[in-house]
Assembly symmetry: C2
Homo-oligomer: 358 residues x 2
């Protein structure tokens, strides 16, 4: 039940929506590019499927379409950026660019961001470093859906970490993943199919074993990467916590269970200890460590060796991080992006609101 849309068609529509809520042309273009990077790479939960969510946040007065994004504190290799309640899709590339500029001079750049909103896929921002022969990193905190090990309370977001590492003749190494066993988008896909989750993805409101894809609506929680203590969930819990602290406690954003929820209908938490959502970005110049050409030659060797490691029976080849998204991108650029019926409906309704045809 999905409709194939060309990238161009989705781009024009999305840009018109961002313009309609008051974004400048430059910002609307950038926000659209970042948002659609998810659809084109196959991370359907983070692309146009979220467009109506951003519009609802704007209606609720939680998104400033014309933010004065600025550096509020800095040293040679660090900065704190205030996103002025702008779209994370615009604030994040600004902050990543600051990290890159710092790295050009100091070797590395590290930027923590407060007062922002959902920034699309982390991978987009990390990959901005690649063309500068830099390693890029991006992370963000998010609405609390994840219970720490031994807890039944939702305290952390799915808090993704993205890392992009340039190679030479090989494509870059691009890892971009939620610090949970499964991201929320995977649950949404199962919900649409009326299917159960595998064991180890979620727990019910009492902390019991569950395979109910709708368990979050019933007080349940997502589980940290590792699923349970015996399989290392305390490591996933630690990773999600580090993302929360780097993104929000370092910058002055709201952290843990106080992170502002993405759905506009969810009331804001009381006594928030900071401002808005937080992100964290890093850029490391390769030649701050060794000559870039030398490094990239070794990355080619690394990638080739891992790709050619012995596959397990039933698998043709071993992948390197970024392979599945690259393959999806090459298909979708040619064949278009399948958008599920419910998202088409949402987009049509958002379009009507502003007099834009999909």
């Amino acid at each position: 039940m999905s409709v194939i849309c060309s990238y161009d068609r989705l781009f024009k529509f999305t840009r018109a929506v961002f313009t309609s809520i008051g974004c400048s042309e430059v910002d609307a273009n950038l926000a659209t590019k970042v948002l659609l990077a998810a659809d084109i790479r196959g991370i359907d939960s983070h692309g146009v499927a979220r467009l109506s969510g951003y519009v609802r946040l704007w209606e609720a007065g939680r998104i400033n379409p014309n933010p004065q994004v600025k550096i509020v504190h800095e040293t040679p290799s660090t900065a704190v950026v205030d996103g002025d309640a702008g779209l994370g899709l615009v604030v994040a590339p600004f902050a990543m660019q600051v990290a890159i500029e710092k790295a050009k001079i100091a070797g590395t750049g590290w930027v923590s961001v407060k007062n922002s909103n959902h920034f699309g896929i982390a991978g987009f921002h990390a990959m901005m470093a690649l063309e500068h022969d830099m390693i890029g990193m991006a992370m963000t905190n998010a609405s609390a859906l994840v219970a720490p090990t031994f807890s039944i309370e939702r305290m952390l977001g799915t808090n993704p970490i993205a890392t992009a590492i340039p190679a030479g003749t090989q494509p870059p190494f691009v890892a971009d993943f939620a610090t949970t066993t499964a991201a929320n988008g995977k649950l949404e896909i199962l919900q649409r199919k009326n299917a159960d989750t595998p064991l180890g993805w979620v727990q019910d409101m009492e902390g019991g074993i569950s395979t109910d894809a709708n368990v979050l609506k019933k007080g349940g929680a997502l589980l940290p990467l590792g699923s349970d203590r015996e399989h290392g969930s305390h490591k996933g819990y630690a990773l999600g916590s580090i993302v929360d602290i780097f993104s929000a406690v370092l910058s002055g954003a709201s952290y843990g269970p106080w992170a502002p929820p993405f759905p506009a209908y969810v009331p804001m938490p009381e006594n928030m200890p900071g401002t808005g959502l937080g992100h964290f970005f890093g850029a490391m110049r390769i030649d701050a460590f060794r000559p870039a050409a030398e490094f990239k030659e070794h990355m080619d060797n690394w990638i080739t060796r891992f790709r050619n490691s012995k596959p397990a029976p039933g698998h043709e080849k071993v992948l390197i991080p970024g392979d599945p998204e690259r393959e999806m991108e090459s298909i979708r650029v040619k064949e278009g992006i399948p958008v599920v019926a419910s998202v088409i409906e949402e987009l049509t309704s958002v379009g009507k609101q502003f007099g834009i045809e999909l």
Copy 2:
């Protein structure tokens, strides 16, 4: 089957062994302090249990007891350190100190190390940052024991990541974990008990499901954090890869399946693409982002809120990373360190070699 040894007794013995292989007094003291940090914190696999392993590496000519550890490349926020084949226990604190000094001036410091050896527990080095009101990070690559997702070849080490974050009145946040479902030390404990592993820790040489704690001796492999694809093993695989690349490809150490094996009886891999083992360290000055007092107040709030999150039935409280090791340390400082009989035997034999009594 273990003997309780006081910290002092183990310290004097270990230091005498390091002196006997030719370390200076300063280096022997430091190496002992780092090594025993594992025993005192309850990470028994990384403490005196490895002392004979270091001696065997020295006998094999793979450890230089008097290294000229030095910076071979640097920028304001980065450095590459050549460990000159020294004990990682000595090379790592040197490199972490370089990161701290860089951070004092540039806001952050990031140091990649080549030509080193096993560095003990990652947490020790990360925690060096705490007293400077800095966040510390430490990671290292290691002998290949871990199969990537979809592979049956051992390509990565257990490649740990440690992150230490200062707080105010609360104890610091200290995460230190292997990027696998279970560390090799956990397998060793089960081997001694003749017990099976839980499902999801290891696979056999054909990539099949296994619960055999001795499977590594039979061509099997440890599994990345996440255990299988459905539970996110591609994320653990990516994390282990990032540690490998930051530690070894950035510095010029040997990476992936070419990482030098810790057991001296295992032949060195052919065609090694770099020199020795690699590490990566980071230090970020808190006040390069916001005033340290303000940050630490929020960390206290973060820690208290997480500790007081609703526990699951059957659990008294929710822990924060570092709690179990701190509890163990407070017990072992008072009551001594239990050393299992087989390790006592090994230590006694090493002692005899140098005429030192345990």
